[in-house]
């Protein structure tokens, strides 16, 4: 929902990286050992594709017409080291501590997008920064999860879009909540692409001046409030599907780190606390509990993947988190007839007392969850 998230993720990432990479500190590598990187607007040439583990030096020259960014990336797209804003015609020397394994060097002309990439193989030997393979596994699995959620969302979104285009109000209403589930489960990842979120998940009051209102909530208002589907709505449905396909295509490349996973889990609870518990999110459809459940499931997934490491570092915390996740699940189950469905009670039927109870349960989970990142990087 909010572009602010991007900053949060980036900050957490940067913090995590300081522990893992040496950046541009001292360079005692001789020129002969350095990799020459020639960046241009559509190419990224490297003088070598294989180096021994240890301190690696990149001698970068930007021969393109725009400022560029050069990164050394882990296989899961985490950044080992990077230099932003290398101006046209300028040079920069980047060094990093790298252990054996497969990497990529990316040049990102204009500092945007996926970038132009070259393989880099780091061969065994030499001293390397320590990385916890359990955390690498967690990140890789979470990346798969995020991709799966996007992949599974597309057919549901297609069903929703089809119903809208058929002018079938009832079918569209039925398909609305489920079409959002995968997005809600992985919202912090989805939001890390600052350009997609404002198109698909913005609410009317979140619009910038001059911004056209598109996406789920615009259609929600048409279906529940205006109770009609016109040509504009049908076009917006097509647009939604197109934007979601964009998400599906990019989600696998999102920058994910153990701390961004942990803080992303907390952010999912923040979403619940600020938008769902209040009934703001789906103010016309009142399907807030479906989103709520999706947010909690996504947080739980991130937590479960990080749990082995967190349990070693802070067993009291994981005990508390296990308990509070279970308590919230139990509470949410009271609002659906069958645990296998996402057929939740309409949120306008949830009383003030019940909302308070849900809010208390969210706080009870979110507070310890805010300590997960520390337990992971300890």
């Amino acid at each position: 929902m909010r572009a602010v998230r991007l900053t949060v993720t980036a900050a957490a990432t940067a913090a995590a990286l300081t522990a893992l990479s040496a950046c541009t500190a001292k360079s005692d590598a001789k020129d002969g050992d350095a990799i020459q990187v020639t960046a241009a607007d559509s190419t990224c040439k490297t003088s070598s594709t294989s180096v021994p583990a240890g301190q690696v030096t990149l001698k970068i020259e930007n021969k393109g017409s725009k400022a560029t960014e050069v990164e050394i990336l882990f296989p899961d797209d985490r950044i080992v080291s990077e230099k932003e804003n290398i101006g046209p015609g300028t040079r920069y020397t980047l060094t990093a501590e790298v252990k054996a394994g497969s990497y990529e060097i990316a040049c990102r002309p204009g500092m945007k997008g996926h970038g132009v990439r070259q393989k880099l193989t780091v061969t065994g030997g030499g001293s390397t920064a320590k990385r916890d393979p359990q955390l690498d596994t967690a990140v890789a699995q979470y990346r798969t999860y995020a991709q799966d959620q996007a992949d599974e969302t597309l057919p549901k979104a297609e069903a929703f879009v089809k119903a809208v285009k058929d002018g079938d109000l009832d079918a569209a209403k039925k398909a609305y909540g489920l079409s959002r589930l995968g997005w809600e489960r992985t919202e912090p990842v989805a939001e890390s692409f600052g350009d997609i979120d404002p198109k698909v998940d913005v609410r009317e009051d979140g619009l910038d001046a001059g911004q056209k209102w598109t996406g789920w909530h615009r259609l929600e208002k048409a279906l529940w409030h205006d109770k009609k589907i016109g040509a504009e709505e049908k076009a917006l449905a097509d647009q939604l599907l197109k934007d979601l396909k964009d998400w599906q295509g990019r989600v696998g490349k999102a920058e994910i780190t153990p701390t961004s996973m942990a803080n992303g889990a907390k952010e999912l609870l923040d979403e619940v606390a600020t938008g769902k518990v209040t009934g703001e999110e789906d103010r016309y459809a009142h399907t807030d509990l479906v989103d709520f459940k999706g947010n909690v499931e996504g947080a739980q997934k991130a937590y479960e993947l990080l749990r082995p490491v967190a349990a070693k570092n802070d067993p009291a915390l994981t005990k508390e988190l296990d308990k509070q996740f279970a308590a919230l699940d139990t509470l949410l189950d009271k609002y659906r007839s069958d645990k296998a469905t996402y057929d939740f009670v309409s949120y306008d039927k949830v009383t003030e007392d019940q909302r308070k109870e849900l809010s208390d349960a969210v706080n009870a989970l979110a507070e310890p969850l805010s300590k997960l990142a520390a337990a992971v990087v300890k």
């Binding site: 509070q324 208390d360 009870a364 989970l365 507070e367 300590k371 992971v376 990087v377």
Partner: protein, 418 residues
């Protein structure tokens, strides 16, 4: 006044505001009885009230009752969310430690900065650089707490559920609570910081049910200080029990060993009422009527027919429904309570009326002999009822003080059966 009683539209009832009357009589009885305080330290010295310093957290009684009244309040009532007694007790211990630190002007836990960059800090940070500001934190246990953790047989007989008084229009979102914390300080930010950090430590174990901010103390426990005025513009608490009046505190405020149960010895009972004032109609009331309603003049605060605020009131000179007359101990078989109320303003309501009034806090040895009979009398007859309405209500058992650095809030109740 009385003609409005029993009507739906101008409800109200009350008692509070002016227990100046009650205080008046009391003071007369105990004048000159100042004695050393039970609490350790010199925090009872009114001079210390000016220092912005720290009030001793440890003592035979909890600070925040007989200690000098500060200017600001953040009062919070909590519901217990856990069923695990050990977990609840651990929270009380964690709260005690945080309270010990905050009342001394220190940050909670590892502090507000300098820790891991990836984790939120232990302390929220908004009180950094501020003085302790005489922060006191006072905990209480509500009747509903005793339904939990198998505590039913420990519930004091004196901790009764308050009856419904005529004119009460209680909002359930401002009423009740399993426990409460009263945070008083000379700096509102310090008081808010304290409740916020305790709430944070409590998440998962307790949840805030309601809370109230207050300003402008409406009664004093330091008689030498200027008598404060309530939002109706009248002096209030002229003769409230002073923190130095050991005999009266013992007689009317502190629970004695013979009162039972044992765990309450040295404690007290607190009644908290949110009393909304119909500010706009009050302000349109003629001065003479205002003074008649209270039974004292507006400028000096003198009782009817007298010249000075501290002159002994002659009750029969007042109208029969005058607030001071009805609230006076002589009209209530000597009933005396210690008041610690604050004015409140929560902005305006949707109709443009000031949402303001008195957040009434009264400490007493036994609610059945203190607030209840007094309020019954006032609710039935007080002329002030036309201008006030009780909209929130709660009652709590206030355990004795935390003795030393090994002690914790609620130990006398919870360690017994442990």
């Amino acid at each position: 006044m009385t003609e409005t009683q029993g009507t739906q539209t101008t409800p109200s009832r009350r008692a509070l505001i002016g227990w100046g009357g009650a205080g008046l009589a009391l003071g007369a009885a105990a004048a000159g009885g100042a004695v050393a305080m039970a609490r350790a330290g010199n925090d009872m010295d009114p001079a210390a009230a000016e220092t912005g310093g720290a009030v001793e957290f440890h003592g035979a009684h909890q600070a925040g009752i007989a200690t000098p009244v500060q200017d600001r309040l953040h009062f919070a009532a909590f519901d217990v969310k856990t069923e695990d007694r050990d977990e609840f007790v651990q929270m009380l211990k964690d709260w005690t430690e945080a309270a010990r630190r905050m009342t001394a002007g220190k940050a909670v836990g590892e502090g507000a900065y300098g820790g891991l960059a990836e984790a939120p800090p232990d302390d929220t940070g908004e009180a950094l650089g501020l003085k302790p500001s005489r922060l006191t934190l006072t905990i209480g246990f509500g009747p509903s707490l005793f339904d939990k953790f198998g505590l039913a047989d420990q519930r004091p007989e004196a901790l009764v559920d308050l009856p419904k008084f005529p004119g009460d229009n209680l909002d359930r979102f401002r009423t009740g609570g399993d426990l409460c914390v009263q945070a008083c300080s000379d700096d509102p930010q310090v008081a808010v910081h304290a409740i916020r950090n305790l709430a944070r430590i409590g998440f998962g174990k307790v949840a805030i049910r309601w809370s109230q901010l207050g300003f402008g103390k409406t009664s004093s426990t330091t008689p030498d200080a200027q008598t404060p005025r309530n939002l109706m513009g009248f002096k209030d608490g002229t003769r409230n029990i002073a923190g130095t009046e050991t005999d009266r505190l013992k007689k009317f405020v502190w629970v004695g060993g013979e009162d039972g149960p044992d765990w309450m010895t040295g404690g007290s009972y607190l009644v908290a009422r949110r009393i909304r004032m119909h500010i706009e109609t009050w302000d349109r009331t003629p001065l003479q009527e205002q003074e008649d309603i209270f039974g004292r003049d507006k400028g000096e605060g003198a009782p009817v027919g007298k010249a000075k605020e501290h002159d002994e009131p002659f009750l029969k000179a007042m109208k029969p429904d005058a607030h001071v007359r009805l609230a006076h101990p002589d009209s209530n078989n000597g009933i005396t309570i210690l008041r610690r109320g604050y004015s409140f303003t929560d902005g305006t309501d949707g109709m443009g009326r000031l949402d303001a009034g008195l957040f009434f806090l009264a400490y007493q040895r036994d609610v059945r002999k203190g607030f209840i009979p007094l309020q019954r009398n006032l609710a039935a007859h007080d002329a002030l009822n036309e201008y006030i309405q009780h909209v929130g209500s709660a009652v709590f058992a206030i355990p004795p003080g935390v003795r030393d650095s090994d002690d914790w809030w609620g130990r006398t109740l919870f360690s017994k059966e442990a």
